[in-house]
């Protein structure tokens, strides 16, 4: 698709998050060619990011009028309708259109389901989420929505396992563990010598685990333990690797031993709490461990989320709400915390507030996944989705 130099500059500025300059460049691009759907879609996205919903709706609508196949414009329009509120009928139509324009776009079905749910078409909402899961069984937001749906129909007992399933699909939980190690993200070097300093080898083991080479990570940990079997951090990392391979008892064995050696070690708390949370009947144990974790790492949003989920299992809804709220305050884009908070708000009859959190989660989730830019790139490269 031929595009003006100004349009390309606007796009570059938008990708850098320089919103005001990007908007100015967009209008310069429209002065050259006011029939470029991609530029109108870009304005819509920029306006949405600044909470100018009416402007976003106008720009996205213009883009779609110019080209009914302009997929990024449908995304911006649907999100703008949803966040503005009270426009469920239009929202449902837009998500339908997006799902038709880009049939393999899983998030379109998730959003469509959320629009249906907001309009109280629960059956249709469920069908949309199930369709999303057919396309991608690991779509965590579809699971979160089905959990909320289960909560409304049958109560928290049914909803909680689904919330946990969704959480397990969410990569942010692994990120918590790596954050607790205190090591920066990096690729494994791959050639760390066996006689390298312990901290270098430990860092390599963490990097291998982060790269999901769990056998490699355990090999390095094995070497560390051969020298010092009471190395609590190495044991906790081994526990994490076992946990990721669904070897829960091995993970628990490593974690309890690690915590026996170093009761305040947060990585050990994370592994032990997670193994407890996976077993029915151990909600009290999980809550105890995650409470210690949240106290030891109060700046980690996911620590509060894990505590909140354990508290839900104990029917301590008020405390769970406080823990979820703490997580949202620390990270407003935390989808898992937003959905959890929505679940608690449903249990309090605060449906409108719950829906608000779900809509916020939707916005942040599409942003986190880069859905707009993915659609935008496909559109400008192919001339259509």
């Amino acid at each position: 698709m031929p595009r003006s130099q100004q349009a390309v500059i606007a796009e570059g500025l938008a990708r850098q998050g320089r919103v005001a300059e990007a908007v100015a460049a967009c209008y310069e691009a429209l002065a050259i060619d006011d029939r470029d759907p991609a530029t109108h879609a870009l304005i819509a996205e920029l306006m949405l990011g600044e909470d100018f919903y009416d402007e976003a709706i106008a720009a996205a609508t213009q883009a779609i009028e110019l080209d009914p196949d302009c997929s990024p414009a449908y995304l911006a329009l649907g999100l703008a309708y949803d966040r503005r509120g009270g426009m469920w009928d239009q929202s449902v139509l837009v998500w339908h259109e997006l799902a038709e324009v880009v049939p393999d776009l899983v998030i379109a079905h998730v959003q469509l389901g959320e629009a249906f749910a907001a309009a109280a078409f629960d059956e249709e909402a469920r069908d949309s989420w199930k369709r999303a899961l057919e396309l991608d069984p690991h779509q965590s937001r579809a699971h979160y929505n089905l959990a909320i749906d289960a909560l409304k129909r049958e109560g928290m007992t049914t909803a909680l396992p689904l919330i946990r399933t969704a959480g397990a699909l969410d990569p942010s939980q692994d990120a918590l563990f790596f954050s607790l190690t205190g090591l920066p993200a990096r690729e494994p070097f791959g050639d760390v010598a066996a006689d390298a300093p312990r901290e270098v080898r430990y860092a390599e083991a963490v990097a291998l685990a982060r790269a999901e080479d769990f056998f490699g990570a355990v090999d390095v940990v094995r070497g560390l333990l051969d020298e010092a079997p009471d190395d609590a951090k190495a044991l906790a990392l081994a526990g994490f690797c076992y946990l990721k391979q669904e070897a829960t008892n091995e993970a628990m064995a490593c974690a309890v031993r690690a915590l026996a050696l170093a009761p305040d070690m947060t990585e050990g708390m994370y592994v032990l709490g997670t193994t407890y949370a996976q077993r029915p009947g151990l909600a009290k144990h999980a809550a105890r461990v995650f409470l210690a974790l949240a106290k030891a790492s109060p700046a980690e949003p996911l620590a509060h989320v894990l505590l909140a989920e354990a508290l839900l299992g104990l029917q301590r809804y008020r405390q769970a709400r406080a823990a979820y709220a703490a997580a949202v305050a620390l990270d407003p884009s935390c989808v898992r915390a937003r959905f959890g908070l929505a679940a608690v708000l449903f249990s309090e009859g605060s449906y409108a507030e719950a829906q608000w959190h779900i809509r916020r989660a939707a916005y942040y989730d599409t942003k986190r996944l880069g859905v707009f830019w993915d659609l935008f790139d496909r559109y400008v490269e192919g001339g259509a989705a």
């Binding site: 333990l225 044991l235 490593c254 309890v256 031993r257 449903f346 009859g349």
Partner: protein
């Protein structure tokens, strides 16, 4: 054999007879689930409550297992096989899943001409999980249906849900029927937007209390349960 875990967990295991944790650990390593179960049964019969077995016996044995693996006293394969045995035994040491039965029966439902079921479902689930005997009449329930089910079940508590002003006012009919049939001791609780918006409404329909959330339901029902127990004792 390293005993670090035993030393560190001394406070947890003080009620478990000497040597039993190590016996359980040995049973894990020797892939002997029958012995492992026997150890659990013996420790339970020695007086350790089911709710404590996990912390007092199982976790320290697992810690010994982790320690043995770290020290290479067992190899990777033995570690995995021991974990399989630990899995087989786990159901014997888990704390009881269900909460104890409170003995209190609760009849609940959404008032006639009202189809707002979300809150009713959430609260019914919470109460069931907390050990209440819940009789969920569903939606669109007439006052006479509440009474009928109270008489069938001997329930001492009714929770009426209403999300519209007209159906909220109709709860008065439930109280009237209960009184007329000599069931005025039945505790009538109400839940729904109109009651939250106007606290005097609940009183005017003869309700004994208002529930506003799942947590609120658990709190109110706990108070009701205590009152009922005191009345029975008195």
């Amino acid at each position: 054999m390293a005993c670090g875990a035993r030393r560190d967990d001394a406070k947890e295991v003080e009620r478990v007879p000497d040597g039993e944790i190590e016996r359980l650990y040995r049973a894990f390593v020797e892939t002997d689930p029958a012995t492992a179960i026997r150890v659990v049964e013996q420790v339970r019969s020695s007086g350790v409550a089911q709710a404590e077995l996990f912390d007092a016996l199982y976790v320290p044995a697992l810690a010994m297992l982790g320690d043995a693996w770290a020290r290479r006293e067992i190899d990777e394969l033995s570690f995995t096989q021991a974990a399989v045995v630990a899995e087989q035994v786990s159901s014997f040491v888990m704390p009881p899943l269900a909460r104890p039965d409170t003995g209190v029966s609760v009849v609940l439902g959404v008032m006639h001409r009202d189809h707002h079921s979300v809150m009713k479902n959430i609260i019914a689930g919470a109460l069931k999980e907390a050990g209440y005997r819940v009789f969920d009449l569903g939606i669109d329930v007439r006052a006479s249906d509440f009474l009928e089910r109270v008489e069938e079940t001997g329930a001492r508590v009714v929770v009426a849900f209403a999300e519209m002003l007209a159906t909220a006012r109709a709860v008065a009919g439930v109280r009237d029927l209960l009184d007329a049939e000599g069931r005025s001791e039945v505790v009538l609780l109400v839940c729904g937007g109109p009651f939250a918006a106007d606290p005097s409404l609940a009183r005017s329909v003869g309700a004994n209390g208002v529930i506003s959330s799942a947590q609120g339901a658990l709190d109110v029902l706990e108070r009701v349960r205590r009152d009922l127990l005191e009345k029975e004792a008195g």
